[in-house]
């Protein structure tokens, strides 16, 4: 009984503030409004979204998001392990210090990166001090990835760190007792047990990364349009909520499907999986 009741407020909240708005967005995507204010039901917003131009925009966004997620994972996992193994007394502090930079405003932090990476920036200053040639860091895909990894890294590290702490030590000890060396214990015991945390981390990095665009606007100098730009522009500049909604719906479906596939590939034992989406 308590098990059922406990998710009650959540279900209500989600129904009210997530499902209803999404249904509204779906509604917007299915109509077109004429200039005289009348409207009709149509599929044209969806067919329009399959124009090669928009596909190119979507493909670029997905590519950058996947790259950022992978980098976050490879940098974040060791960090999460280090944090989890820290002295308990120091750990709380270290974890807090990990998120505190994110409490400073996003725009300020990104501008600060521009000051660091710029032509006459801090990094080039160091390079020339060392007698090395200047490098154009800004306005490259590398700069965008750096910005994304910077902003999303804590969302990868924290969930992995959480599952790594308090992981059933007896299992690990048993494995070690049975003669497994460190590498085998990690690959066969620790890593599989941390999969739920990894999946949470990947969701929290990949999904928002697909739709952000401000980082790319600033660090790539607005050279390319990403799917988030496209949607924002439809909603604000063009005031075509219908097409904007259609693109958002397609994006949603696409990501849910790809996450489902990832989960299927992610582990063969269904009990082990964390946040299965399908």
């Amino acid at each position: 009984m308590i098990k059922k009741l406990s998710s009650g407020p959540y279900l209500f909240w989600i129904a009210m503030f997530v499902v209803i708005p999404i249904l509204m967005v779906f509604g917007f995507s299915m109509i077109t409004t004429n200039s005289d204010g009348s409207w009709q039901i149509t599929f044209s917003n969806f067919t329009r979204a399959f124009d090669p131009i928009y596909i190119a925009v979507l493909a670029r966004s997905l590519k950058i998001a996947v790259e950022a997620t992978l980098i976050c994972f490879f940098i974040g996992y060791p960090m999460a392990m280090i944090l989890a193994k820290m002295n308990v007394r120091f750990r709380t502090f270290a974890v807090m210090m990990f998120v505190v930079p994110m409490w400073m405003n996003f725009l300020l932090r990104t501008y600060a990166w521009m000051t660091i990476l710029g032509k006459n920036g801090v990094l080039n200053g160091i390079l020339s001090f060392l007698g090395l040639p200047q490098v154009q860091f800004l306005y490259s895909e590398g700069a965008v990835l750096l910005g994304m990894v910077y902003n999303f890294l804590p969302f990868m590290v924290l969930p992995i760190y959480t599952v790594l702490t308090k992981m059933d030590q007896s299992l690990i000890e048993a494995a070690e007792d049975l003669g497994g060396n460190k590498k085998i214990v990690f690959l066969k015991v620790i890593f599989p047990l941390s999969v739920p945390g990894i999946l949470s981390g990947v969701s929290m990095v990949f999904m928002p990364a697909v739709s952000t665009f401000v980082i790319s606007n600033l660090l790539y100098g607005g050279q390319y349009m990403l799917i988030g730009n496209l949607i924002e522009q439809q909603f604000l500049v063009i005031n075509d909520w219908n097409f904007g909604s259609a693109v958002a719906m397609i994006l949603m479906l696409l990501i849910l499907v790809s996450m489902a596939i990832m989960n299927r590939v992610g582990g063969d034992n269904p009990e082990e999986r964390g946040v299965n989406l399908w």
Partner: protein, 257 residues
């Protein structure tokens, strides 16, 4: 112990990466120029004018208020939700987790505008209340995603055992489940607070009547140039948080999170 040194070096590099921009913005809070790009000399002017700027101070107040309330509400709702979801039938669980991820993957503008449309349709006046509701909405999914893996990790019969032994459900939750999932709750709350304090688009469309947070103030002054007062404010915020953490760390000694 080479391993230990590699670990230390790695930690140092990562923290250096995280704090490099913070150092830059702190340095420029002392810059004697409106620009935050070129060093023109030392000044404390921005700290002084910060406290005379009512709009920034008011925005700071709302930012903290909304972040504290929204992350607290989201953490409570999300934690109990994870508890319920964990014991659901598989198909139900999957369906709900799909819905749960919608606010995460939806572009902010879509979430912001659709929520605004809903509030207006419900005849709610946009302001503090609607902003808090909007923040709770986009924070909850992250809390669920943080807490749920801890349930998956928990020995599955623990709750049953406690209940069989005569514990009331509330007692069982507090004494048996809570200690197990606590790290998940804390990370969930941290993530929620972080997201709330930094949100612009959703806040913008779901507030009104003079309630605005720091992000709204900062984004709207961006075209004219972000005032160095904001750098000063960020520096002060950072120092405050740091001192608070140090004090708490000293006082709570060994607190397991």
């Amino acid at each position: 112990m080479v391993g230990k040194w590699i670990k230390r070096l790695y930690t140092l590099i990562i923290f250096g990466f995280l704090y490099a921009p913070i150092a830059v913005l702190a340095v420029f809070s002392f810059n004697d120029s409106k620009s935050t790009a070129k060093w023109e000399g030392f000044t404390l002017d921005w700290y002084q004018s910060l406290f005379q700027n009512d709009y920034i101070m008011k925005s700071l107040y709302y930012t903290v208020l909304v972040a504290v309330v929204a992350s607290a509400v989201a953490t409570v709702i999300g934690t109990f939700a994870a508890f319920g979801i964990f014991y659901m039938k598989t198909w139900k669980q999957k369906a709900i987790l799909n819905v749960n991820s919608l606010p995460i993957l939806n572009p902010d503008i879509v979430t912001g505008i659709s929520l605004m449309t809903l509030f207006v349709a419900l005849n709610m006046e946009l302001g503090l209340m609607t902003m808090i509701i909007a923040h709770v909405t986009f924070c909850i999914p992250y809390v669920v995603l943080s807490v749920l893996p801890k349930f998956k990790q928990m020995p599955s019969e623990m709750l049953e055992a406690a209940l069989d032994l005569g514990a009331t459900p509330f007692y069982a939750f507090r004494k048996v489940i809570y200690p197990e999932i606590k790290p998940g709750i804390i990370t969930g709350a941290l993530i929620a607070f972080t997201l709330s304090i930094d949100d612009f688009v959703i806040s913008f469309f779901n507030t009104g009547n003079g309630v605005s947070n720091l992000s709204i103030a900062i984004y709207s002054m961006a075209r004219r140039g972000i005032k160095p007062e904001i750098n000063a404010l960020s520096t002060l915020m950072f120092i405050t948080v740091l001192i608070l953490l140090l004090v708490l760390n000293k006082r709570t000694k060994i607190e397991e999170i």
